[in-house]
């Protein structure tokens, strides 16, 4: 039993942290507007992050989600605008459900960062289930697919489609997809809507409902891992502020209304961190346990991080409300995380079912 990271994983963590501090600080993040920051993306590819979970046979590093976890946590800490989660989900879907031909063609391109993926799974904004998929499967796709992640950055889209009960994932060229960017709260997690008009997919493969659930669970775990870093960033920003801001002759961090809220943030972050690490480990090493582990982690994190986002702003007073101050960027991420891949209510209900109720 060893519930900690290895030396290699810790080195990887430091590497990502350095990248986020040197190459992609919040001052850079703020300048992004949904498109792909080419240079940064290339660096991420050169450092091997996009290839981590791609099998070696397909040009990847052949590691696991728990290795990727370190990358996601640290890039979440700096609110990285790179579409690493979408890319990882595309790799995961293809790795698990596609034919050898499709794997052979697409996984190396994903690993190299040459194909950049946006993901569009559910047409319904609150339905994380096969029923939430409406776009019709076929040799040519026609219709709308809303909520496509990282649409403006993508060269390719992975879209979920259906015929009757059968589900498919289709790879289409982004430039063919009639994409329109949609403004959202968190600019680092941009969505677009695809309006397809007889677009022939470059590849398509069936996906079982179990594999779809697996993919969604990976998504839930991925955004929760990013939320660990982001929530810790809020806690550290707010703690530092509380040590230095003087009111009534004392640092505000001396007052329990402030310090106890910060202590509670610590308790929550520690807790959804433990749940998320376990879920990330389960993806490759105990997939049977993934549904429950992912739901518990995402449910806990969704509400806890949303509260941290709000209080991270509130504990700063008015300065927290300013555009210039960084706390607001994290609040926006927390609102996005809450709804992404199922909210707390969805996952608590699911955990109850999986727990035998």
């Amino acid at each position: 039993m060893d519930f900690g990271f290895s030396e290699e994983q810790n080195l990887l963590r430091e590497q990502v942290l350095r990248f986020m501090t040197d190459a992609c600080p919040l001052s850079v993040v703020r300048t992004q507007n949904g498109g792909l920051p080419r240079e940064l993306w290339q660096q991420a590819a050169d450092l091997g992050w996009l290839a981590l979970i791609v099998p070696e046979a397909h040009g990847g590093v052949g590691l696991k989600w728990i290795d990727l976890a370190v990358v996601l946590e640290e890039s979440g800490r700096g609110l990285s605008p790179l579409p690493i989660v979408s890319q990882a989900l595309a790799a995961t879907a293809i790795r698990r459900s596609a034919s050898d031909d499709v794997k052979g063609e697409w996984l190396p391109r994903i690993a190299a960062g040459e194909a950049v993926f946006g993901i569009g799974l559910f047409d319904d904004p609150t339905w994380i289930d096969a029923e939430g998929i409406r776009l019709a499967s076929g040799p040519k796709l026609t219709g709308a697919k809303p909520f496509v992640s990282d649409a403006a950055a993508a060269t390719h889209l992975l879209l979920a489609t259906r015929t009757g009960e059968d589900l498919h994932l289709a790879i289409v060229e982004a430039s063919d997809a009639g994409l329109s960017a949609q403004p959202g709260i968190d600019r680092t997690k941009p969505f677009g809507t695809a309006t397809l008009d007889g677009v022939a997919p470059q590849a398509a493969f069936p996906i079982s409902t179990d594999d779809l659930a697996f993919l969604t669970d990976c998504g839930a775990v991925a955004v929760t891992l990013e939320a660990i870093g982001a929530a810790e960033a809020v806690l550290s920003l707010t703690t530092e502020y509380a040590k230095n801001r003087i009111q009534f002759d004392n640092p505000i961090g001396k007052y329990q209304g402030v310090k106890h809220r910060l202590a509670d943030m610590f308790v929550d972050i520690e807790s959804f961190k433990s749940l998320a690490y376990y879920a990330a480990w389960a993806i490759d090493d105990a997939p049977d346990e993934l549904p429950r582990a992912a739901s518990l982690a995402k449910a806990y994190a969704s509400d806890a991080f949303a509260g941290i986002g709000v209080d991270g702003v509130g504990l700063h007073g008015a300065i927290g409300f300013t555009a210039e101050y960084d706390a607001q960027l994290y609040l926006k991420r927390s609102k996005w995380v809450r709804s992404a891949f199922g909210d707390a209510d969805y996952h608590y209900q699911r955990a109850a079912s999986l727990g035998g109720l």
Partner: protein, 386 residues
């Protein structure tokens, strides 16, 4: 990262399970002599004081195997491994860490053999959360100390054989944490008077303990004179981590689920009610978080990395779960939920109603939630003291 156990650890788990299958009859079938026999058997296995040094009769087992033992015992709802909870949870470990060789020989075997019961004399009427300010006086006279003062909330005092007692040997100190001395005192010493206090559940487990010119030999001092605070800190950390242990919470969650499955509200199965299901999901998430927090902290210990005050995290979870789960069960079952054992209408024999009056031992005992938050804020986050 891996959650696999070594072949030896797996074999150990199997051994524990086999032992339990053989030696732990269902509660209804446990006869009069059961408890004595049980204590004898687990002692023979060296499972009492599992990780304590062998030379004093401990099991010298690894932390991982200790975790396995606790988990299996809790899953089987086995009774405790000894009669002196405090002796096993923090007095023994304190003596092992700070005691003289002679003290270890003298006290440890008796704790392991359930021959003596210990109680803990820390809190005073005017000093609870602010424990370091205690005033019970111990004056050195020749080869003994003379103790005068009062303790309160001393759990188990009415039947304890010994008390681990926090006293003040110096009153003129710069920091109140200095000048504190820890003494090990027989409860039948002349000058000790115990007055039990009834709690809201009707139990009389804790008491006021008065000390009037009680003579304690110097050889009964634990740690150095004036340095008793260090002993206390480690005992409190042990108390908090034992409160923060998750093992029993899974069994409690299962009981709660069974209750939900067998309960109808306004003619409809409670298990179909989204609000009910969500609450159970929330409990499970917190309990699972306690489990995996515990495993992360255990990993740190196994790697020899220092633990800070992380035990306060699970202590806070346990405290809120203990209140919320009982309260949920009581509310779920309506008027039947507030019936006590003995009532014909009681739910699960009244156990939820009963335990809904028991939370203060894990919520207030070992330091209140506000104090745990202060600990996290000050020692981990580095915020100013209030």
């Amino acid at each position: 990262m891996d959650f696999d156990f070594t072949p030896e650890e797996q074999a150990f788990r199997a051994e524990v399970r086999d032992f339990l299958a053989e030696n732990l009859p269902p509660p209804a079938e446990r006869g009069r002599g059961f408890m004595a026999e049980w204590l004898h058997k687990v002692r023979d296995k060296r499972w009492v004081g599992f990780s304590w040094p062998e030379e004093y009769g401990g099991g010298a087992g690894s932390l991982t195997e200790q975790a396995i033992l606790k988990e299996e015992m809790a899953l089987a709802r086995a009774p405790a491994l000894g009669t002196s909870f405090m002796g096993l949870a923090w007095v023994g470990p304190g003596i092992i860490q700070y005691g003289t060789g002679e003290q270890k020989q003298r006290f440890i075997p008796d704790i392991l053999d359930s021959k003596v019961n210990w109680c803990t004399g820390y809190s005073e009427p005017n000093h609870g959360s602010d424990l370091a300010a205690i005033q019970t006086k111990a004056e050195r006279v020749g080869d003994h100390y003379v103790v005068n003062g009062q303790k309160i909330w001393t759990t188990g005092a009415p039947w304890a054989d010994w008390i681990i007692l926090l006293t003040r040997t110096e009153f003129e100190v710069e920091r109140k944490h200095d000048g504190i001395t820890c003494l090990l005192v027989p409860m039948d010493s002349p000058g000790i008077e115990v007055r039990p206090i009834e709690n809201m559940a009707g139990d009389r487990n804790f008491a006021e303990v008065f000390f009037t010119d009680v003579e304690v030999p110097v050889e009964n001092r634990l740690g150095e004179e004036g340095k008793g605070w260090a002993v206390t800190i480690s005992a409190l950390a042990n108390e908090r981590s034992s409160i923060g242990e998750v093992t029993q919470m899974f069994a409690k969650l299962e009981s709660l689920k069974n209750l939900v499955r067998s309960t109808a509200r306004q003619g409809k199965p409670a298990a179909d009610d989204p609000a009910v299901r969500r609450r159970l999901g929330e409990f499970e998430a917190k309990i699972a978080a306690m489990k995996y927090n515990g495993l992360r902290y255990l990993t740190k210990q196994l790697r020899g990395e220092p633990l800070s005050s992380e035990t306060s995290v699970n202590k806070l979870h346990r405290a809120s779960l203990e209140v919320e789960m009982d309260d949920f069960a009581v509310e779920l079952t309506g008027l039947a939920g507030v019936q006590l054992p003995g009532s014909d209408e009681a739910v699960d024999g009244g156990r939820w109603a009963r335990s809904s009056l028991g939370w203060p031992s894990v919520v207030i005992g070992g330091g209140t939630p506000n104090i745990q938050r202060n600990i996290i804020a000050e020692r981990i986050l580095g915020l100013p003291k209030d």
